[in-house]
Amino acid sequence: MTESTHSNCKSLLGSLSDYVDGDLGAELCREIEKHIAECEDCRIVVDTTRKTVDLVHASNLPQTGLPDEVRDRLFKRLNLADYLKPVSQ
């Protein structure tokens, strides 16, 4: 695959999620790394996809709890109002 111009770009795309999640086998990883060393567009796609997933995970935290008034209404709707003591800390 010496003249690996852009014929590999599409096949890289198929492995992208697994690569970013760290679920790709070592051999396929090496292929991708070899390709993105030569193909700037794919290098950018890989970097920015990884960054996108990182940002999603980073913005997941902190996990907010249920607002008190939402919990109140939920318990009443479920006829559980008598169990509506404050959430224990």
Binding site: T48, T49, T52
Partner: protein
């Protein structure tokens, strides 16, 4: 990461026997992730609260259908996803998550944006504005991609649990996850491309 996976040992027998205290414990253990899922899925608090209430009402009614093969959380997510779809369909005639539409090929999502924004400083990427851009991009995803993305990347279910929750195959989940991520990447590339250009102009 998901705080509810502190495995609250909810007793199924107690639930089925109509133990209301146990049901209250179930609600307190799982209501927060269900509410967040609804918020992300529907984008507003009123709809998210409807989904939350309907999910537990439905769970209560269908307790006997729960066989305990999947986790309680997966089971509740499945109900919540269906409730969310019903809310979405109020306004629109057809939202179908399991239709294998013609564009289920990743090739249709070939990247078109090659802005190298991945190395921008974290405090810019994680700024209030940056997070809003991400939220907008998520809301722009078509429903069938958004469901998969939310369960996998936001609620952090495994591929297997995501597939089970949505009644999709694992390979279908993977294809949709890839399409969702690529779509978000495209949208963020446009957003940060504009930022980068503005800075160049201002310099």
């Amino acid at each position: 990461m998901i705080e509810t996976i502190s495995k609250p040992d909810i007793s199924l027998e107690a639930l089925r026997a109509g133990d209301r205290a146990e049901f209250a414990r179930l609600v307190d253990s799982y209501s927060a992730p269900i509410y967040r899922l609804g918020l992300r899925m529907l984008g507003n608090e009123q709809d998210a609260e409807d989904v939350l209430q309907n999910t537990f009402l439905s769970a209560f009614t269908h307790l006997s259908n729960f066989e305990g093969r999947s986790s309680v959380l997966t089971w509740l997510y499945r109900i919540a996803v269906n409730e969310s779809l019903m809310v979405m369909r109020r306004g629109k005639p057809e939202v179908n998550i399991d239709d294998t539409d013609s564009s289920d090929e990743a090739e249709d999502f070939s990247p078109t944006q090659f802005v190298d924004w991945g190395a921008l400083p974290e405090d810019m990427l994680l700024s209030v504005e940056g997070k809003q851009a991400l939220d907008r991009a998520i809301q722009n995803l078509p429903e069938n991609l958004r469901m998969v993305f939310l369960l996998r990347d936001i609620q952090e279910l495994s591929i297997k649990d995501t597939a089970e929750t949505l009644g999709l195959t694992e390979s279908n989940v993977k294809v949709r996850l890839l399409r969702a991520r690529l779509s978000l990447r495209e949208q963020l590339s446009v957003y940060y491309g504009e930022r980068i250009n503005q800075e160049k102009i201002n310099d």
